[in-house]
């Protein structure tokens, strides 16, 4: 009964989304305001029914209704209760339902908080959101119905993929989807502005808080994914340039360019084309990411539940959404005037370089990710691009980005002079160079293996030698300059008794987070130790002064698995540091083997141990993975700080005003410094 109700709810949601899409558009053309106003209530109703559908699926999981095919494939009678909730999005159908639910929540949020927007504009936004909703609801109902029955019911379920039986998986997908799907709002605002043919800076102001919020969620979603991969995949890496990771990273890069371009358009009226184009491409890249994850067209180590047939549907939908919006853009773009002028040394130029760098980087990642498909199409054979391609390109692209980033806040709009930037930053620059050298020297004394010079591959070695120093310079430069700017800004605001702008503080916070992230990356890349070794009971192994002693393993039974649990004692200079218990689990349902790494986390270093496999029959000798990862927490801490910056900026007072927008026809074109 419950699954049928869920099914019914989704069908009703689809019908309501249809009304939400079509009626406001007709109303806008014919000038029938009643029809235009239909957008909001239908969005609420459609959202409610999607939520009911989601609840129905959750109930089916909690009650273990194995007559529902999706539940039977992704659950098992032994599955602990809390994982039954998360199993809802553990497979393809449920992921789609979550995607749709998140889309509905964003739509409802826009409908709730944008009541002060002109009615026709809001009607059009609702229509576009409705269209996206139609796409996903019909995709779900026609090709991947989560409520499909298998009668008579199966006695036992297949089980949730053990990798997903983890706290990281409970929070990672919803947050990532919040970001992915949130970009639909920026997309809908841009399309609505294009339809209206009024592409001034007004719509950008309305779109900014939503874009910032979506970007913040995307940031934390990606960060959590990285953290989960680190301890759950058992390899101890934090980023692999895997197609699925790239799928989430491309929209982030485009959205990063977008939030900067929006600033220029709102404040100065320039870059209007760019802002629209980036709004369209950020969401298109989200759809592309969904396609890559769901279709499995490219070899990826963590594309779950892939199915090429279904991928085609997403690809077609992607074609309609991005092709349609780009066509609209092509028709309308002639009407765009280029807006505010500016000189070479100005904040606009700096933001323009941000846009160029991030757009080129997006294209770089996109080409690299799709390379196997491109090569196949041109008959170049089965080729893929290795992670070094991405690593090298990204590094090169980020050098100018990091160098210019801290100057942005200091610069003036429209006209500035480079001399002033120099005067403003020369002391910090010197401090950065000296500080980085000092830190580097300290690092060297801890990791003397860095200075082993060999005559062969001199360049490679020199590069390895230079890279950590460059990373440190970048991190210090960003952090110190951002701190200086913040102090200056707060002092000036105090002196004038002016309120602090959350937008600006958010920007500074996010920039500072980039510095923290850079420190983490630099340290992890330059001085991690990774050892795969063979260890027998009682043996010890030394990594960077930490002595890992393998005490032994025991076997125990978990709720739905059997595990070998290793016991490691770690000491440093004879002092006790911690005990770690990595596990090798064998899940009872399908015999899946899972590695549970054990980590002693610290602000300055992580000690990571995971069990490989038993090398003898009596299980007293194991292959063991031991890592020492300095500062790896700073990578995720940086991501967290960047997210906070995004949220801070999104809650700027300017966006929260309840004033009806129609009264202010033009945004004042004054220069804000």
């Amino acid at each position: 009964m419950i699954p049928e109700l869920g099914q019914l709810a989704l069908i009703l949601a689809l019908l309501l989304a249809g009304m939400q899409c079509v009626l406001p558009l007709i109303g806008a053309v014919t000038g029938n305001m009643t029809w235009v106003r239909v957008g909001r209530p239908t969005a609420y109703a459609s959202g409610l029914f999607v939520l009911l559908g989601f609840i129905a699926l959750t109930i089916s999981f909690v009650q273990q209704d194995f007559s529902v095919v999706y539940v039977a494939t992704n659950s098992n009678s032994l599955l602990p209760l809390h994982y039954r909730f998360t199993a809802v999005w553990g497979g393809h159908e449920g992921s789609l339902l979550l995607w749709t639910l998140v889309l509905s929540m964003w739509t409802v949020a826009v409908a709730l908080f944008s009541r002060n927007l002109p009615e026709i504009f809001l009607g059009r936004v609702m229509a576009v959101m409705g269209l996206i909703s139609i796409g996903f609801l019909s995709f779900m109902l026609f090709t991947s119905n989560p409520f499909q029955r298998h009668l008579p019911g199966l006695p036992e379920g297949n089980d949730l993929n053990p990798l997903l039986q983890d706290i990281g998986m409970i929070v990672h997908p919803p947050l990532l989807y919040m970001g992915y799907v949130g970009l639909a709002v920026a997309f809908a605002f841009a399309v609505a502005a294009l339809m209206e043919g009024r592409m001034d800076s007004r719509w950008v102001k309305w779109s900014r808080p939503w874009t910032n919020l979506a970007w913040a969620f995307l940031t934390i979603g990606i960060t959590l994914g990285s953290w989960w991969a680190y301890y759950e995949l058992g390899w101890g890496g934090w980023w692999f340039w895997d197609p699925v990771e790239n799928g989430s990273f491309m929209p982030w890069l485009a959205a990063t360019a977008l939030i900067h371009s929006q600033a220029v358009t709102e404040k100065r009226g320039a870059f209007k084309n760019w802002t629209i184009l980036l709004s369209l491409s950020a969401f298109s890249l989200s759809l592309l990411g969904t396609f890559l994850v769901r279709s499995g067209v490219i070899t990826s180590v963590h594309a779950f539940a892939s199915d090429p047939e279904r991928g085609i549907f997403i690809l077609a939908f992607l074609g309609v959404i991005s092709g349609g919006s780009l066509a609209l853009f092509a028709i309308r773009s002639a009407k765009l005037n280029s807006g505010g002028t500016f000189t070479l040394a100005s904040r606009e130029t700096l933001l323009l370089s941000n846009n160029l760098i991030f757009s080129v980087t997006t294209v770089m990642v996109l080409l690299g990710t799709l390379f196997p498909l491109i090569a196949e199409a041109f008959n170049w054979g089965k080729v893929s691009l290795g992670p070094p391609y991405f690593g090298f390109m990204f590094f090169i692209m980020m050098i100018p980005a990091i160098a210019l980033m801290p100057l942005g806040p200091f610069s003036h709009w429209k006209q500035d002079n480079a001399r002033r930037w120099f005067d403003n930053s020369i002391w910090i620059m010197l401090l950065t160079l000296v500080g980085a050298a000092a830190i580097y020297a300290a690092m060297m004394s801890f990791s003397p293996e860095l200075i082993v010079w060999t005559s062969d591959d001199f360049l490679g070695k020199a590069w390895q030698f230079l890279k950590p120093w460059l990373g440190m310079v970048g991190a210090l430069w960003v952090m110190l300059m951002t701190l200086k700017w913040t102090i200056d800004y707060v002092r000036k605001a105090r002196a004038r008794n002016a309120p602090l702008s959350r937008g600006l503080l958010g920007m500074a916070t996010a920039h500072f987070g980039v510095g923290v992230f850079l420190i983490g990356v630099t340290m992890v890349i330059s001085s991690s130790t990774e050892k795969d070794i063979r260890m027998a009971d009682g043996e010890s192994f030394d990594v960077k002064g930490y002595l890992f002693t393998f005490v032994g393993t025991d076997r125990y039974q978990g709720p739905n698995y059997l595990a070998d649990r290793g016991h490691f004692e770690i000491t440093y200079d004879g002092d006790y540091v911690s005990s770690l218990y990595p596990e090798k689990r064998s899940y009872l349902s399908g015999g899946d083997i899972m590695t549970e790494a054990a980590v002693d986390a610290g602000a300055f270093r992580d000690l990571f141990v995971s069990l490989g496999e038993p090398l003898t029959d009596d299980r007293d000798v194991w292959s063991v993975r031991i890592y020492h990862k300095p500062f790896i927490r700073w990578i995720w801490l940086g991501g967290l700080i960047i997210m906070l910056g995004g949220i801070l900026a999104a809650t700027d007072r300017r966006y929260l005003s309840r004033r009806t927008e129609e009264t202010s026809k033009t945004v004042p074109e004054r220069a804000v410094t």
Partner: protein, 144 residues
């Protein structure tokens, strides 16, 4: 030229230079990091280059996994149902590595015709088959 025009020309020149540099770097990096995929039949036919980073893949042959007791060296055969080849790997294999599973190994052929893997990839989904492996096996099945 008016000063505004002049500035615009400079700006465009800078942008073109930047984008050109980025694109040429990208092409160079692509060239250097291409990993070609070879199936066991191609390797058997001697098509795989020696000492160059490539990917090979296929199904792990039943009963072919040989472990050494005092190092982490493992040897196993992969097959595309027509030919099979031996892969040597030192290190910890992924959890889903097992007989009958489709895997991809990244590494180099040495001059004695052995494949030394630096990395072995198996998926986190037991029903998964890497697209390259699936198509290699399909092609072989089609040929009598």
């Amino acid at each position: 030229m008016t000063p505004t025009r002049k500035r615009r020309v400079y700006m465009i020149l800078i942008i073109i230079m930047g984008v050109t540099t980025a694109v040429s770097l990208m092409l160079a990096a692509m060239n250097k990091n291409m990993e070609f995929f070879y199936d066991p039949s191609q390797v058997a036919a001697g098509e795989a280059p020696v000492d160059q980073l490539i990917r090979v893949g296929g199904m792990v042959v039943e009963g072919s996994i040989v472990r050494t007791s005092n190092t982490l060296l493992t040897q196993f055969d992969v097959t595309d149902n027509a030919h099979s080849m031996t892969v040597s790997y030192t290190g910890i294999l992924p959890d889903l590595f097992r007989e009958g599973q489709g895997i991809i190994a990244k590494g180099k052929m040495n001059d004695t015709g052995q494949f030394i893997a630096a990395e072995v990839l198996a998926k986190h989904d037991e029903t998964y088959m890497p697209p390259e492996v699936a198509s290699a096996m399909k092609n072989k099945a089609a040929q009598p």
